[in-house]
């Protein structure tokens, strides 16, 4: 079968999340489709539900998906694979389902045998087990958020804990669907080339991330100490309150002194800030398990980055033995799906963005960028961490042809572009 002659990249407006449908047009008029991510943690005020999006994908693909890729397990990337929309997608019977190596069930801790020997420190299985510990922490943080919310705490700080905590829940139903879906499941790492001869003839997809632990020691969290020890301790601090207090025989103060009245609310706030910081660390660690996919048809290539952040990018762009060759290939990219909904550190400024050489490109070869995002959900402008980050969006607008899901409408709940190859 000949190579595709066109590629349509469509980003559905799923609010804060990603849902990218790649449609490969073949010279004989046929088309094959690949879905990259399907999830949201906050749908747009005026837009489609995930079920409507799933139904639309079914229609568009004529009931068949060649490939599904779930870049990482964050809810805003895989929640659509659970529940009703998940059932719809599963019925599209993808031939190949691709996930990062961290999702390999053979590496997962045995949930039915908690007493079994722990994974060897530093091993892939230990890294995967650590992700589970992080989920447990996120779940405890969400429970804490809900308790405090019920007690009347309406602070932005607590809301941020709730939002990030929920993003980092395990998404067990979606994970299960992905583990059962498709004819062939592949858990990919840097350096892999996906086997697409049957599913997508004429298409090459290189996996540029995530690296394995051997390739990049800093993948999950470049801990200065034993990270498992840290997360083990951290999780124990959020266990549900026990019947006995810390000092069961100590006398509780009958009333708060002046100092305590001033200080106690501040200590409460500091504790919430600590919670938020730890949940942010978890969020970063999971983002760095993202698949980075370079889709190539002939001389045309498209880069899809999930939520990869610096630790993940650094290997392909700087530390890998063939990093220079990779950078040279990326310099000619036609389209870039902006990483992590436009956050400040998911599109490495000099290593990636400046490498695209946007200023020197002729108009016909102008870089196309796709941004799937929703403002006001993540980060803070005052701290320079808002998502999407304003200076990045300014650069995308000024230096590329930007497709932004926020410009989608209720009736046409996607943005797309077709590239002739």
């Amino acid at each position: 079968m000949a190579a595709p002659s066109s590629l349509r990249v469509r980003a559905y407006n799923v609010g804060f999340g990603d849902c990218i449908l790649l449609s490969f047009g073949y010279p004989d008029g046929s088309a094959r489709h690949a879905l990259v991510d399907f999830g949201s943690t906050k749908l747009p005020a005026k837009g489609a539900s995930l079920t409507q999006v799933a139904e639309h994908i079914r229609t568009e693909t004529d009931g068949h998906l060649a490939m599904v890729a779930a870049t990482h397990r964050h809810a805003d990337h895989i929640s659509g694979f659970a529940g009703e929309p998940g059932k719809i997608v599963a019925r599209l019977a993808p031939r190949l389902v691709v996930q990062p190596w961290t999702e390999d069930p053979d590496l997962a801790p045995d949930a039915t045998a908690p007493a079994s020997a722990p994974a060897r420190p530093g091993s892939l299985a230990a890294a995967v087990a650590r992700l589970d510990t992080m989920h447990a922490y996120a779940a405890s943080a969400v429970a804490e958020y809900q308790r405090r919310l019920a007690a009347g705490d309406r602070t932005d700080l607590l809301a941020a804990v709730g939002f990030l905590g929920e993003v980092n829940l395990k998404n067990a139903a979606a994970v299960r669907t992905l583990q059962q879906m498709g004819e062939q499941r592949l858990y990919a790492r840097f350096g892999d080339v996906l086997p697409l001869d049957d599913a997508l003839p004429g298409v090459r997809i290189d996996v540029l991330g995530p690296p394995t632990l051997d390739q990049a020691a800093g993948l999950v969290a470049e801990a200065r100490t034993d990270p498992d020890e840290y997360w083990h301790v951290a999780t124990s601090t959020l266990a549900p309150s026990r019947a006995k207090g810390l000092f069961p025989r100590a006398t509780v103060a009958a009333e708060r002194t002046q100092e305590a009245r001033w200080l106690a609310p501040r200590v409460d706030r500091l504790r919430t800030e600590e919670l938020l910081s730890i949940v942010r660390t978890i969020d970063d660690a999971l983002n760095n398990t993202s698949l980075i996919l370079l889709v190539t048809i002939g001389a045309t290539s498209v880069l899809l980055a999930g939520d990869a952040q610096l630790e993940n990018w650094s290997y392909a762009l700087r530390d890998a033995p063939d990093a220079a060759a990779i950078r040279a290939r990326l310099a000619g990219c036609r389209l870039y799906k902006v990483g992590h909904h436009g956050s400040l550190n998911a599109t490495p400024k000099t290593m990636l963005w400046q490498n695209f050489g946007t200023a020197a490109r002729p108009e016909a070869d102008k870089l196309i960028t796709v941004l799937s995002t929703l403002a006001g959900k993540h980060g803070s402008p005052a701290r320079g961490t808002e998502v999407p980050r304003r200076p990045l969006v300014d650069a995308l607008r000024a230096e590329s042809t930007l497709l932004d899901t926020r410009s989608a409408t209720k009736a046409r709940f996607w943005v797309d572009t077709t590239i002739e190859v």
């Binding site: 034993d226 601090t237 504790r271």
Partner: protein, 564 residues
Amino acid sequence: MAASRARKFTVVAQDPGVRRRGRVVTGTVSLPYEELDPGPVGHRVHVVDYDATRRVLLAPAEIVDGGPLPSAQQILTDPGFHAQNVYAVVMATLLRFESALGRRVSWGFPAHQLKVVPHAFEMANAFYSADDEALLFGWFRRAGKPVFTCLSHDIVVHETTHALVDGLRKGFMRPSSADQAAFHEGFADVVALLSVLAMDEITTALVTTTAKVRGGMVDRSAVTAEALRRGLLFGLAEQMDPGLSAARIDALRRSVELTPAPRILALAEFAEPHRRGEVLVAAVMNAFLDVWQHRLAPLGAGDGRGGIDLRRVAEEGAVVAQQLLTAAIRGIDYTPPIHLTFGEFLSAVLTADTEVRADDTRYGLRDALVRWFAAYGITPAGEGPGGLWPRSELALVRDGIRFGSLRSDTTEMFRLLWSNRTALGLQQPAYTRVTSVRPCLRVGPEDGLPVQETVAECLQYLDITAAELGRFGLVAPAGMPDDQRVVLQGGSTLVLDEYGTLKYQIRNTVPGDGDPASAAEAQERLQYLWDHGYLREGASFVNRLSDLHRLRALAGPVDPAQEW
């Protein structure tokens, strides 16, 4: 009860993990007597036992003088002991600073009493929060058993040091350079480690665990520099409760093992603040070991068995630790108020120590510091003999200056500066402010004579745009837009003698004085701030020490040049 002149407190010498014959190693802290309210609450420290995880406030602890040494079980389960332990260690650290600096030392916030929360939350972290005027100590469970950061001597000293340095030099918390970013953590580690080693109970316990003791004597081979380095410091790291703070143990191990290399600070790995701070720790701790070894060399000779009295080994170690600690703390007064480099810190320590302890032959402390800092590529910034700051030769105009006020009044000090603004090299267009004036009375340990000084900090700011940088001899970094706001900062520390005569002016001026060296330094700082995103709209320095401590445990690589 009649007030005695001192009050003794039993404290945990390191942490509950360090034991001798099954007992937690404890030490005694002697504090000047003050009438404490339950809490304890004294004139500088107010313990509030509030737990934000359960939102429970415990009744203030009553302080009981005397009594038997607490058992290991009591140490772990009695919140009253925890409150007393943290109170005593914080106060002892404060007193150590006050004794070294020869004056009262304020916290880094306007209030007089530092709030200390021994069981602030169930979290594996402890930190100083200037905004909340508090030290907060977390606790957590490990293998089902509670672990308390408030019982770790070095953690309590480390956090207290942050609060004290913040009071002495606000400017050190601002973004400036890789050295300054690393200094707070590195210095807090140095003070914490030396404070622990200044207790001979802990050195005795550690030497005992790493060497054979017979009849109170240890073999000379157990106290060579290498044996002390490996056995004592590494032993300390090994014995610390790993659940308490794996990060600091790891930092200690790495500092001890850091191979000297003159170009080490130029390596990318050591641009990161925590790693860079470990270089400071390594230089100081190796100097400590050298001096200790130097003190032990003449001992035990001629006894035919090569044995040395263990008690003497421990006492010498404690004395050296105290001397070094005093010199390091004193050095803060001789640092510039902003833009500190490790080389400036070294000159500050050398100068401060020389002022009160001119003859160093007994310890060879300054030689050891110069040698070990040089081994890590750090040379004194001072151009005076031996790396000291050069004495000022300026004869200041003092017409109309009231000398009595000059020792404590910022307005009077400003008048002195203003009258001498040209001679002192103050930049005319810059906003200028005297931020502190502190009278000090230090006593030389060798001759017992007092050294009376006044230390003043003067800061200058220039608020300009990138387009104006050329006027100040600077070049905008590549990519910086013309309308980028840039605040250039500088300042001087002035040390005056008892007659109000200027002894030292230690300065990092705002650029524009035509001095190529200061322009080059300012250009380097400007590049650092730009590269690290500190000039970005909305950007902030990581000034929450809670973040700093957690990042020390979990930090992944950060490259501001890759961020938006």
